[in-house]
C-alpha cells in the first residue's frame, strides 16, 4: 500500500514512521510536504508526531490549516485511511476530522513514559492484528494529551464504539492511576464514525521492532497497511 507521511515544520516522528512502513513492513512510503496540495496517490496518510509549528496557539492548531490538510480532509471524507499519532491526533481534532479536544495533561507535566492500552475494537482494519481486550504497552510523549469533549459527545462516542484504545493498568483494568494525562473516560485513541480515520496519543512507531525491546505497536501499523482481513503472521505482535 502506498503510504504518505506528512511533514510539517516541527514534525519529529516522521522518519520513525517511514522506517517502520518502508523497512519493517516493506511498503512503498513517501514524505509529503505540508505545503503540497496532492497526496500523490497515497492510500494511507499518516500525520506524525512532533511539535508542528512549535505547538504555537494550541498543539496541532496551526498544522490543521496547512495547505495539504484540504487534501487530507477530502481523502478522509472519501473513506481513505488517515492515521494521526500524538501531534497528528491533535491535528485531527483541530481539523474536526475527529471529535473532541486536548487540554494540558492533568499534572501539567510532559509525559514521556510507557503506558498500557486496552484494545476496545478489533473489527477495524487498524486493529486487525489485535483482539478486543488485548493489553498493549506503548510509549507516550506529550504535554497536551488530556482528551476532553462534552458529556453528551463522549456518550455518543461510546455509543458508536469510536473509542479504540483506553489507558489501563498492566492487567487491563481502568484505574485512575493508569490514566496519567487525565483523559475523559481514559481515552487514548478514537476513530471517526466510518472507522477510516484513527488518532491516538501513544507512539506505535516507537515500539515496532524486537531490537527495541517492544513490538506491540507493529500490529497497528501492519493493520494500517493491510488491504483487509487479519494479518496472521503478525498476530503475535499484539502481545
Amino acid at each position: 500500500m502506498k503510504c504518505g507521511i506528512v511533514v510539517f515544520p516541527g514534525s519529529n516522528c516522521d522518519h520513525d514512521v517511514y522506517h517502520v512502513l518502508s523497512h519493517v513492513l516493506e511498503q512503498e512510503a513517501t514524505f509529503l510536504w505540508h505545503q503540497g496540495t496532492s497526496l500523490e496517490g497515497c492510500e494511507l496518510v499518516v500525520l506524525p508526531g512532533g511539535f508542528s509549528y512549535g505547538d504555537y496557539l494550541r498543539a496541532g492548531s496551526m498544522a490543521a490549516h496547512s495547505p495539504i490538510m484540504a487534501a487530507v480532509r477530502r481523502h478522509a471524507e472519501a473513506g481513505g485511511r488517515v492515521l494521526g499519532i500524538c501531534n497528528g491526533f491533535q491535528m485531527l481534532l483541530e481539523t474536526g476530522l475527529l471529535p473532541g479536544a486536548m487540554r494540558r495533561n492533568r499534572d501539567l507535566r510532559f509525559l514521556s513514559v510507557d503506558v498500557h492500552l486496552r484494545v476496545e475494537r478489533d473489527d477495524l482494519a487498524w486493529c486487525s492484528n489485535y483482539r478486543r481486550g488485548d493489553v498493549l504497552r506503548m510509549p507516550v510523549a506529550h504535554a497536551e494529551g488530556n482528551y476532553v469533549d462534552t458529556e453528551g459527545a463522549l456518550d455518543e462516542l461510546e455509543r458508536r464504539g469510536q473509542v479504540v484504545f483506553r489507558y489501563v493498568d498492566a492487567a487491563g483494568r481502568r484505574e485512575p492511576a493508569a490514566n496519567l494525562n487525565g483523559s475523559e473516560r481514559a481515552i487514548a485513541g478514537i476513530c471517526n464514525a466510518g472507522g477510516n480515520v484513527l488518532g491516538l496519543m501513544p507512539h506505535p512507531e516507537r515500539c515496532a521492532e524486537e531490537m527495541l525491546g517492544n513490538r506491540d505497536g507493529l500490529g497497528l501499523l501492519a493493520g494500517a497497511v493491510a488491504v483487509g482481513g487479519r494479518v496472521g503472521a503478525l498476530a503475535a505482535a499484539g502481545g
Binding site: L57, H65, A101, R103, L108
Partner: protein
C-alpha cells in the same frame, strides 16, 4: 461561546484594533489555572477564589466598516484563535 463587541476603536482609514480574550470554558478543568491558584495560596495570598489562565491576542486589521471588522474577528476566533470545544472568547475594541 460569547462575543461581546463594545465600543469600536475606529482609527484612520478603516483601521481597527481588537483585543481577543480566550479562556477555558467554565465547565472545563483548567490545569494551569488550578496550579497558579495553588501557588498563590502557598505564597500567602488567601482568599483567591479562582484563577483561569487564558490567552490574549491583539488583532489590528483593516476593514470597510465596523460590521465587517466585527464579522472578520468573529470568524478568526471560531476558526483559529479559540477552540470552541474547550474555550470561550470575548472581543474588545481598543484604540490603536
Amino acid at each position: 461561546m460569547t462575543s461581546q463587541t463594545s465600543r469600536h476603536g475606529r482609527g484612520p482609514e478603516g483601521r481597527f484594533v481588537a483585543r481577543v480574550l480566550v479562556y477555558p470554558r467554565a465547565e472545563v478543568l483548567d490545569p494551569q489555572g488550578r496550579a497558579i491558584e495553588d501557588a498563590l495560596g502557598r505564597i500567602g495570598f488567601d482568599g483567591v477564589r479562582r484563577i483561569r489562565a487564558g490567552k490574549s491576542f491583539e488583532v489590528a486589521l483593516e476593514a470597510a466598516d465596523e460590521r465587517q471588522a466585527t464579522e472578520a474577528v468573529d470568524r478568526m476566533c471560531r476558526q483559529l484563535l479559540a477552540n470552541p470545544i474547550v474555550e470561550d472568547y470575548t472581543v474588545e475594541w481598543v484604540s490603536e
